[in-house]
């Protein structure tokens, strides 16, 4: 029983560590907008300077939490040009029904990213290319393979248990 517990813990640790990877600029942008939507309590300065946050929601310090009804972040885009970093388009809808569109420009910050500036409103420069956001094509056969392995492992275990139970 103890050996089985150790194996289960090791498997869980291996599984959870295999699940995480490097930080994504889309996620940082989303967390910034979510924290901005909490007002001062959200501490959006963890992700962007105050003056950048002011461009999206002027006077955000005094806004009621939940002012933004919809927060949608799209895949990061690569923009051709001399400026490095990642560009993440976003769309917001306020509780009053006003729409805010923009592109956040993020710069590398150690292992993470930090929002440096924004293009808010119409007339956003055209963007192209970009990395996939999600499982991508290889994810599906891997999931099927994991499913087959799980089923085989379960069937194997049950066959052994059934065999031993019959003998007993």
């Amino acid at each position: 029983m103890n050996r089985a517990l150790v194996v289960a813990v090791v498997a869980l640790v291996a599984l959870t560590s295999a699940c995480s990877s490097q930080e994504r600029p889309e996620g940082i942008t989303e967390r910034w907008l979510l924290s901005l939507n909490q007002g001062a309590a959200g501490q959006p300065d963890r992700y962007a300077p105050d003056e950048v946050s002011e461009q999206v929601l002027p006077g955000w310090h005094d806004l009621e939490p939940g002012y933004l009804d919809v927060i949608a972040v799209e895949s990061q885009q690569l923009r051709r040009g001399p400026v490095p970093g990642a560009f993440v388009p976003f769309n917001l809808v306020t509780k009053d029904g006003d729409r805010i569109e923009g592109v956040a420009h993020l710069l590398p910050n150690g292992d993470s990213w930090r929002i440096a500036d924004l293009d808010v409103g119409a007339g956003i420069a055209p963007i192209e290319g970009g990395s996939p956001f999600g499982a991508g094509l290889p994810g599906w056969p891997i999931a099927l393979g994991v499913g087959v392995l799980l089923a085989l492992a379960a069937l194997g275990l049950l066959t052994i248990v059934q065999h031993r139970a019959t003998k007993a």
């Binding site: 919809v70 769309n91 089923a151």
Partner: protein, 419 residues
């Protein structure tokens, strides 16, 4: 007219349905009022994660209480659980801090988990063979109605009263007290009395929690446990993450996602009732395979579409098949086992496998789908991937190792064990 006529069974159905209704209510209410709780009692999102994790463990710990039904009787345990759950709910409403609330909700989950296991055991033992599936379907459907009731109370503005989030816990106390009073008139199940009073069964172990792992039951307990683990790994994480997916990845407003969930929940609740009738007619295993195939197709569809018009029918069908399949797993966890060990077997399947699968599923989807650090980076894709990996495994194990119990005669099974 006997003392267990149709009228008694109707009353029994109401008294047992409250177990699954309040399980659904309790599972949704904490998630719904969490932001208000953190604002009132103080705490961060990380603290909220700990609260959820610890309270979820209560449902697994319920295993030890649920197993006592074979020793002290179904009726007595059902009375203990309703009184315990009512007290834990009252203590939750009175919480002065986050730790108090966590401990009170842990206790509530222990009593609810045990109540569920003993409730389905009573259904299997007290209702005629031809009505067992239908009755299991009705009892299971109450879980979804409990969740919908939370949404209705929130829609009516219960959180805006002077009591704030505490009102959600206080509002259940009066019906709980009435149910506890009503359960006093319940009778012990005929099967339990027959087995307890039969001297030929004196050699049977009515107390050991490991009794379901005897060679005679071991393969079935493990097979049903694995099926419920794989199934709930997906279903629980889908129920937990759907609102987040709708709001953050489809771009739905909070109000719209709430409306979708209530509408789909109502439509999906019919899945339990249909499942109950179909499994009485066509058998538990064939209907489980059909329901799992439906959950696979519509579950992936639900978490892959970003079209709000398509999302509603996909969600309705995913709930219909995904949650509806609990009618079959409830039968798998009880019907293959003789009366003297039935509650303990159900407790193993439910509390030691299913609940653990549910906690792990939500955790794995959260880690894989984390928008900043997750390997997949999308909750929708992570949900679709685990659905593809887990549900076929549940279908294969069920088809190969879970016994069909549609025509199972409980009396004959108990006779065989005693002799």
């Amino acid at each position: 007219m006997t003392d267990r006529d149709a009228r008694y069974r109707r009353k029994l159905l109401i008294l047992l349905s409250s177990a699954t209704f309040f399980e659904g209510y309790d599972n949704y209410v904490l998630a719904f009022v969490l932001a208000l709780v953190l604002g009132n009692l103080g705490g961060s999102e990380a603290d909220a994660g700990w609260v959820r994790g610890i309270t979820a463990l209560g449902a697994a710990a319920a295993f030890f209480l649920a197993g006592q039904a074979d020793r002290i009787g179904r009726r007595r345990l059902l009375l203990i659980t309703i009184v315990g759950y009512t007290a834990a709910t009252a203590l939750t409403a009175l919480s002065p801090g986050l730790w108090w609330l966590t401990v009170a909700q842990f206790g509530a989950q222990v009593f609810l988990g045990a109540e569920w296991a003993v409730a389905i055991t009573i259904v299997v033992e007290e209702f005629p063979r031809e009505h067992r599936g239908k009755t299991l379907g009705i009892v299971a459907s109450m879980n979804t109605l409990g969740g919908i009731f939370v949404g209705i109370l929130a829609f009516l503005g219960l959180q805006d009263t002077a009591l704030g989030w505490r009102a959600f816990f206080l509002v259940g106390l009066i019906p709980l007290a009435l149910i506890a009073w009503g359960r006093r008139s319940m009778l012990e199940t005929e099967r339990y009395i027959a087995v307890r009073d039969d001297e030929r069964g004196a050699h049977l172990d009515h107390t050991s929690i490991l009794e379901p792992w005897k060679p005679a039951f071991r393969t079935t307990v493990l097979a049903v446990g694995l099926v419920t683990f794989f199934r709930y790994f997906v279903i629980s994480s889908g129920a937990f993450w759907w609102a987040y997916y709708a709001q953050q990845e489809i771009g739905m407003s909070v109000a719209t996602s709430g409306l979708y969930l209530a509408a789909a929940g109502l439509a999906g609740a019919t899945g339990f009732l249909v499942a109950g009738r179909l499994m009485d007619r066509f058998g538990r295993k064939p209907m489980f395979e059909v329901y799992m195939a439906g959950a696979l197709v519509f579950g992936v569809w639900t978490f892959q579409t970003t079209n709000t018009g398509v999302e509603l029918p996909a969600l309705c069908l995913a709930i219909f098949f995904g949650l509806g399949s609990v009618s079959m797993t409830s039968a798998f966890a009880t019907e293959p086992f003789p009366t003297y060990v039935r509650s303990r077997a159900a407790a193993w399947c439910r509390n030691a496998f299913e609940i653990v699968g549910g906690v792990l599923g939500a955790l794995v989807v959260g880690i894989l789908g984390d928008h900043v650090t997750g390997r997949v980076g999308s909750i929708g894709d992570a949900m679709a991937l685990i659905t593809i990996a887990m549900l076929p495994a549940a279908m294969i194990v069920c088809w190969r190792f879970v016994p069909e119990t549609n025509a199972e005669d409980m009396v004959a099974m108990d006779e065989a064990v005693r002799s």
